[in-house]
Symmetry: C2
C-alpha cells in the first residue's frame, strides 16, 4: 500500500476496517474519532493517534453515519488526498472532494460479533483510476471480493441487503417470540434457520420456497391466523408475506 | 426397536424418515404409497414392500399431507397398532386410533437437499406411555433432540417455523430479485445472509437487529421506498416490516 490510510469514525465499520488493516500489516496513519467530551460534536477532529492532517495522496475513509458524511468531509478539509465513504445508499457525487471513491462492504456488523472479510463483496466506485486501483488492492489484501458498481447499483444492493438481513432477522425475531410464548426455548428454531440458509447454496430462494402459502394450504393458514388473533401486527405481516409467496413464481 | 415400523406416504417427510431408519439399521416393515396409476387416489393401500397389514404393536407413521391424514388412517384400518402422524398443526386427537402419537421434526425438506437429523428438534406427543417411550427411542437413534409438547405448543412452534423458514426465505427471494434487477449476481448476498444467521448463535434476534428502521433513519427509508415505486408489493412489505422493527424492543 503506497498510500497512507486514515479512518474517520470508530463505530462498527471503522473498527472492523481498522482491525482488518492491522491484520494485513497495512499501517493506518490516523484514526479520527468524535470528541466524546462534547456529546453532540460529530466533526471528528480528534485524532486518536498518528498525524492529524492527512498527507498528500492519503486515502481518508469516512466511516461515520450517513448523515455526518458531509459535515465530516468539510471538517477534514480539502487537501491533496482521496476521500472515500463506506455507505451503501450515498451517491459518490455527494462527496465534494475532487478525487473520491466508495468502499461499501456488503456485510452486517454488530459489536462483539467477529466478521471474516474473506469473500465479502465490497462494492467499489471512484472517479479516479489510481484510487480505484488502490481500493481494489485493499480488497485483494483482505481476501474480499471487489465488484465495481455505479451509485445506482449500489443503492439497489443496499436495499436488497435490508430484505436479506434486516427483514429476515425480523422474521426470526417474531418466530423466537412466538416460540417463547409457547413455553419453549427459542433455540429449537436454530437447526431450521440453519437449514433455510443452507438450502440457498443449492437453490435460488424462489425454488427453495415451501410452506402453507406456497402450496395454497388455506386450512393451515386460517389456523395460523386464529393463533395470531391477539397479535394483530404479526397477523398483518403473515397475510402480506403469504400473499407475496402465493403470487410469486 | 421392538416395534415393527410402517410408513404411509413417500413424500419429503416419508422419504427422509425411511432414509434415516435405514441409516440406523431400523427395519421398516412396509411403506405404503399412493397408487400413482390413479392420480386422485390418496388412500395409500399400495404397499411398496413388506407386509401390507401392520402387525400387532406396529408403529404406523402417517407422513401424508395434512388433509389426507383422516382418510389414510381410515383406510389403514383400526388394528392393534399405534398410529403416529408427523404434522405440526394437527392435534393428536384428530387421530381416531386408541393408541396414538405425534412425531413432528422441526425441519424443512426439499427434494434433493440432504437433511442431517442430528440435533433436529422432534416434537413428540402421545396418549400412551409405551408409544411415547418408543418414539423417544427413535429420536435418540437418530441423534435428534426429543421434546415432549402438547398439541397447542406444537401448533405455536409450527407457526413460528413459518416465520423462521418460509417468511425469511421470502425476504431472501425479494433481495435476490432486487439484486438481479440491478444487474448483479444474487450470490453477492450469500455472505451477508450467512452472517445474519451466524449472529444468532451469539445474540437473540431482537438484539441482532440492525438497519435503517432500527436506528430510525428515515432519510434512507425514504430513498428505499422511492426505489420501490415500481414494486408496490415490496414497498408494502418494506413499510410493514420496518414498522414492526421500529416498534420492537
Amino acid at each position: 500500500m503506497k498510500n497512507p490510510v486514515y479512518i474517520c469514525g470508530n463505530g462498527n465499520v471503522g473498527s472492523a476496517l481498522a482491525r482488518e488493516f492491522a491484520r494485513h500489516k497495512i499501517e493506518v496513519s490516523g484514526i479520527f474519532s468524535r470528541d466524546t467530551e462534547k456529546k453532540n460534536e460529530h466533526s471528528l477532529r480528534t485524532c486518536r493517534y498518528g498525524i492529524d492532517v492527512p498527507e498528500d495522496n492519503a486515502i481518508v475513509f469516512l466511516t461515520v453515519p450517513d448523515r455526518y458524511i458531509g459535515e465530516t468531509e468539510k471538517n477534514i478539509g480539502n487537501g491533496n488526498y482521496y476521500v472515500v465513504h463506506t455507505a451503501g445508499s450515498i451517491p459518490l457525487q455527494t462527496l465534494t472532494a475532487k478525487r473520491k471513491g466508495v468502499f461499501y462492504p456488503l456485510q452486517t456488523y454488530s459489536v462483539g460479533v467477529k466478521v471474516n472479510w474473506e469473500n465479502i463483496p465490497v462494492l467499489v466506485e471512484s472517479n479516479d483510476e489510481e484510487l480505484l486501483e488502490a481500493l481494489f488492492e485493499i480488497v485483494a489484501a483482505f481476501g474480499a471480493r471487489g465488484i465495481e458498481t455505479d451509485s445506482e447499483q449500489r443503492a439497489a444492493v443496499h436495499l436488497s441487503a435490508v430484505f436479506a438481513n434486516n427483514f429476515s432477522n425480523a422474521m426470526f425475531n417474531i418466530a423466537e417470540k412466538l416460540t417463547i410464548s409457547a413455553g419453549l426455548p427459542p433455540d429449537v428454531l436454530t437447526p431450521l434457520i440453519a437449514q433455510t440458509v443452507k438450502k440457498l447454496e443449492l437453490l435460488h430462494a424462489d425454488q427453495a420456497q415451501t410452506g402453507p402459502a406456497k402450496r395454497g394450504d388455506t386450512i393451515t393458514m386460517e389456523k395460523h391466523l386464529k393463533l395470531l388473533e391477539t397479535e394483530p401486527q404479526y397477523a398483518a405481516i403473515y397475510k402480506m408475506v403469504s400473499a407475496f409467496i402465493s403470487g410469486s413464481k
